[in-house]
Symmetry: C2
């Protein structure tokens, strides 16, 4: 990949690395972009899903009669109407599109009513009569693991397991001077996107087109094709911008697009399907709740010698992405540190609750909450400063990760931690806070640090690739068609900057378009923080191919050697004599006239990774993003209220294509991490969610916005990606919970091992410590 | 272009050359395809054009007041509302989108009413008050050429001129033993597509998308961008299948899409614009009426020595494509014969009638009507058989065309003429007919031959290229995205056969999709019989690139040399041991997994052509299609009715990708040629069309279907195109009129020099010949 090396050594960049205000910012503020629901036109049919009211039950009978009698209802579809496979399981074929024999959670789709309008669809859905035979249900993963527990799937209640066996933990613990062992618990989290899951399916001749907010166009295509019994070429998926996704739409749209497609194909009419907010709460994937037993040992001079970890991730009724979420947590279990002896055992456990799945961080926030809490507890026991202790163990080039992978490049976590600690004057700040606390009566302040790492893109040795397309139009403007979805993260703006940089034109020359499975080959999903790295590299590949053509045609036009051609600001000139020049647009036109290729597909190819299932060791990811958060909190000891005053953050991003876009990701990720740490939790009663709305499910609002006054961007370029850039979309969320709970520990001396750390928990914990009864 | 040579020598083809029934045939018969009007949804606005009622007038004042008062009318747009350039002239910037200062024909667009529904739009259009000052108008090109004629454009009434000066015609005529000189006239012809001009414009953020039936997506993009003042990347054009086009939609959609786009951008809502049938008649381009003075000379042994030709093509109010139509007629003026001395003078003349433009044959039917009538008249004067006389002069490799181009390959006109004459037993048939006529009282039969040639694609040394895209999906199905439009001609089916042939899969593996300017680079328009040759070659280029990848990945999987890989019927095997094989779908999946490129753009590059404007000499076209028609007629001498009993046809097509598709083109072209010869004519009164409907404008119906019992396909491959295939969409129309009039001449002895040859004309001509007064 010669062009990638060329990009790395390039100096005097015009766009890459610069802060460019988002071209779509004003439009978004003005509410101008069209989301999927805006594409609803009169004449489209409405689909409404009929859902299980039972957490675990056998379906005895479905009677469509009354529903079909509702004026405007055209059809009611059930499992028996599916022409292809009734199967939407991602990792394991355990999940039907529409429940066939039994239901496994409250909210599971059983039937679909298709009607001329919303009212008729809803009325019809109420009137579909389903006779159930209730089965005993299990709602707790520890209960589910007991031999007497109700069997949710025929194979049992463990969906998958993972292991890591690195070194010899028993020997490691024998060498340890201090050992800390704790059990940590994290809760379900809701993605809370503004826009709920929305799909439009348009039937054509022997074909169906899906328009939706999404993260995984080609997975949607595969699922729709499978359910309809179509070839992939007979399903077209067009991505529309999403009003938030955070992993939720990666899992959900492939699960509901086939429902809309089925309704469209059966009725011959376009079908609109949109979740109401309560459906999103009750029937969409959540962050995996976890129970993590974590034992860590270190020598008295502060070297980690062993960790032994048992991970239980609750996957709910279906495995969905769980096996991969659990694997990622397993592969990152020791945190961004060199630990010579690691033992991890992971279990993915079924319960009769809504299934878990992809969510920003993808298993890493839970495991880092445990790992980074442990680091502070070890430091405390050793009487060491948390930063100092971390620096003694932090990953550096040549050292190995949890699963034994030698990290050899773009390992900037030490630099990130050192620079951030220095920039905020960690030692001094810590002392100031401790001084303040000695004086303070009611409010206690604290400062906490946490580090994290996160493998970019997919793992387990699974194949990985990406694709994009660039067209140079005849007037010199450029159409960029990405394979990466527009979730609001601005990834494609990064790609466009890369294309503009390589072709030597201003960003305004680039028209950004999202994926369309008829127009570009599979680019794999927009998840795993891979959008910029893999999509941007594919964009760079396409742009580099076209740059060669532009340079060739310009050298003909300017009658000079190709090596003498330079392009800057849409002007092409001869380096030794810049007065000899032509506008980019003229060269573009000549590309056509002289028969050069005017468009190119670009591809990203992942480096080889591998995975030994016996030991869990291997090369898990091509590269990792590293991130450090330092949180400052104030705890109101009278109310238990925790206020996160600010979070400082530093990351090795490889190369910042746009610092603004990165900081926006940090702000959002920290806010989402704040909710996970302090307020968010799904409350069930008999498998039914009680807080299926934003009155009862508490997410941070704009008033809770956390200041992020310090951002340090470390740039240790990754040679496998365009300009060396890695991904950061998920990163800043991961260390946010432990940075906050470490700060609370600093403020109060109390270790909170269970999320969320609500005012009640803090209040009662403080009371308990004072020796009062709760 | 190594791959093109490879395709030429390939033997044992699976699909190319075979008759494959059209995959879309049944759907079309069942009315299932969705045309533009089918995409009209409630909520779209209607646009209605307010048209000039004057043939020539100054616009004094436009009052929108009353129209704006109509409930449902949202806006009335005129020239002053155009943000970009008010200019849609194709060859010459002489034509406004909306008339500004004056109008030049009845039907010219002056304003556009945009309303919530059709009724309001029509009502509003009636109420736009336009005050005109009438100017003297001119309706006849010969009148328009007089110095005293009203000036239609400031530059005068001649839009362009053409010349050819080959050899020395005066010397040529001195060598001639016989000379024939006649003046021929042809009329306006309406395209008569089932579907009238229809456009949908959808506004997006800083962008507009056009959906329409069309022939020239990128020209539409350019025109919309120009009128709106947008960059090309801000206009997306998506082709929808057309219900007939025949050149009409090549010119018209670029002229009306900007109107719909303007309305959409001004209102912020999707706009639907559809011509009613009377608008298509009155305001859409027509075949150029012609007046051709043709002088030909030959030696007594039957060698053509000179032709001198004056061509007048009436372009109506605007030049539109006229300069190129006239040029094509000029470049083909001597017919498919070697004539050493040629002098041509062409004039494109303005009148105050609806503008002329592209129409199947693009100027060649008119000139061949003259040229081939002359050939028969010369043969008669020489006492030679028309076939024999033609064979003495016919083009062969190494000889030169009208404009001095040496034709060196794929020159199968001699073979076509010999084989067709032989197959229908020309001599015998002629004698039989003459015998019949001696006996017949009322009905006279005749047989006539005509040859033609037609340069493929564009000329005048203009740049020419095409593009296409092929994606191999992960399940082995293939998405083919053409740059060529679906006019009903099946061109993309031909491309798909080429792609399937090259990749070794059945045709059913290929999903055919039409152009989208956001998905493929400019492929230039679908005209000039270039769809199969240029688009198919671009498809072959893309498919060949991907075949190399498939072969490579298969050789890795099958552990053999790439040279040993063969692909047939979606099975990939090792030639020396076919038991070692894998399905195509597995190799497709591995393309992705192993990081091969899974999609490719393909390009067609035209050979160099040039044109000397001083002499008109040069290399006009890369290659020509050659065609021979033999018509058999029966003339009812009592009524003047001419019945065309059958037309035999032969053509050198280079290579028949699908003989069925070619024959379908022949049938359609001969029917359209029949209308041109016998019935069709636009009748005006003071510049207003009187027969703006199919009651008064007579086209052949299914009852007038001409039998085409003999089709001879000559295959002299053209090395510049995939499999050697040339285009045939227009060909069979061109020699149809002279074949029929030559047959009428054979039947009656009367030379009809003016089209259409209506029963009235025949009746009165027969009467006159008998010495009776009319």
């Amino acid at each position: 990949m010669g062009y990638l090396e060329e990009l790395l050594v390039k100096e005097g960049l015009s766009l890459v690395g610069k802060r460019v205000s988002r071209p779509d910012a004003l439009d978004k503020v003005l509410g101008r972009p069209l989301f999927t629901a805006d594409k609803l036109t009169r004449g489209m049919l409405w689909a409404k899903i009929v859902r299980s009211k039972y957490p675990h039950a056998i379906i005895k009978r479905i009677d469509k009669g009354k529903a079909l009698g509702v004026p405007g209802v055209l059809t009611v579809l059930t499992a028996e109407d599916i022409p292809g496979e009734n199967q939407i399981g991602y990792a394991i074929p355990d999940q039907p599109l529409l429940a066939m024999d039994k239901v496994r959670f409250v909210g599971e789709p059983v039937a679909v009513v298709v009607a001329e309008n919303e009212e008729a669809a809803e009325k019809g859905a109420e009137l579909v009569e389903i006779e159930y035979e209730s089965l005993p249900a299990v709602f707790d993963p520890l209960e589910a693991l007991k031999p007497v527990a109700p069997r949710i799937h025929e194979s049992g209640n463990i969906a998958t397991t993972t292991i890591i066996r690195k070194g010899d933990v028993e020997k490691g613990f024998r060498e340890a001077d201090v050992i800390v062992e704790n059990t940590y618990k994290t809760q379900r989290q809701e993605h809370a996107y503004l826009e709920t899951e929305t799909v439009i399916a348009v039937p054509e001749i022997n074909k169906v087109t899906i328009l939706a907010c999404m993260q995984s166009p080609w997975l949607i295509r595969r699922m729709v094709a499978k359910v309809l019994g179509y070839k992939q070429s007979k399903v077209r998926v067009i991505e529309l911008p999403a009003g938030g996704a955070f992993g939720g739409k990666d899992d959900m749209i492939p699960m509901i697009a086939p429902i809309a497609a089925l309704a469209a194909v059966k009725t011959g009419k376009p079908v609109f399907l949109m979740f109401k907010r309560d459906e999103t709460f009750e029937a969409s994937n959540k962050r995996h709740p976890s129970i993590i037993r974590y034992k860590s040992g270190a020598t008295k001079d502060g070297k980690l010698v062993a960790v032994e970890i048992e991970i239980i991730y609750e996957t709910g009724a279906y495995a969905n992405r769980g096996p991969f979420v659990l694997w990622r947590a397993t592969a990152h279990a020791a945190g961004p540190y060199e630990v010579p002896n690691v033992k991890v055992d992971g279990k993915l456990v079924y319960t009769n609750r809504v299934f878990s799945g992809s969510f920003r961080g993808f298993g890493d926030p839970q495991i880092h909450f445990a790992a980074e809490s442990q680091m502070d507890e070890l430091a405390a026991k050793l009487g060491m400063d948390p930063v100092e202790f971390r620096l003694k163990n932090i990953l550096k080039p040549g050292l190995t990760t949890t699963c034994g992978q030698v990290v050899d490049q773009s390992v900037g976590v030490e630099e990130a931690l050192r620079k951030l600690a220095e920039k905020i004057n960690w030692e001094k700040r810590k002392r100031e806070i401790e001084e303040y606390n000695r004086e303070s009566k009611r409010k206690l302040k604290g400062i906490g640090v946490a580090c994290a790492y996160h493998g970019i893109s997919t793992s387990r040795g699974a194949p990985d690739w990406s694709a994009a397309a660039v067209i140079i139009n005849e007037d010199g403007t450029i159409t960029y068609k990405g394979g990466i979805c527009r979730l609001g993260q601005g990834s494609l703006i990064g790609h466009a900057k890369i294309v503009a940089e390589i072709l030597g034109v201003p960003l305004s020359y680039i028209q950004i378009e999202g994926p369309d499975t008829d127009a570009i080959p599979e680019a794999r999903p927009t998840h795993g923080s891979r959008g910029l790295m893999t999509g941007g590299t594919a964009a760079a590949d396409a742009a580099s191919k076209l740059r060669r053509n532009i340079v060739r045609v310009a050298s003909e036009m300017l009658e000079c050697k190709t090596e003498d051609i330079e392009i800057k600001d849409a002007l092409i000139y001869v380096k030794p004599d810049p007065s000899r020049n032509i506008p980019f647009s003229e060269a573009a036109k000549e590309l056509y006239v002289r028969g050069y290729e005017t468009a190119a597909y670009g591809f990203y190819r992942a480096p080889k990774r591998f995975f030994d299932p016996k030991t869990g060791l291997g090369v898990a990811y091509g590269v990792y993003v590293y991130i450090v958060n330092i949180a400052e909190v104030e705890v109101d000891t009278w109310t238990g209220q925790v206020k996160v005053e600010r979070v400082h953050t530093a990351a090795d991003v490889g190369k910042a294509i746009d610092p603004d876009l990165i900081e926006q990701q940090f702000h959002g990720a920290i806010a989402q991490g704040l909710g996970l740490t302090l307020t968010e939790d799904i409350v069930f009663s008999d498998g039914k969610i009680l807080n299926n709305n934003y009155t009862d499910y508490v997410i941070p609002t704009v008033k809770d916005r956390v200041e992020v006054p310090t951002v340090v961007l470390v740039e240790q370029p990754y040679k496998g990606a365009a300009f060396g850039a890695k991904g950061v979309a998920e990163a800043a969320l991961i260390p946010t919970p432990p940075a906050i709970t470490n700060a609370i520990r600093h403020a109060t001396g109390i270790r909170f091992k269970e999320l969320p750390v609500t005012p009640e928990k803090v209040y009662f914990a403080l009371k308990k410590r004072r020796g009062e009864k709760s």
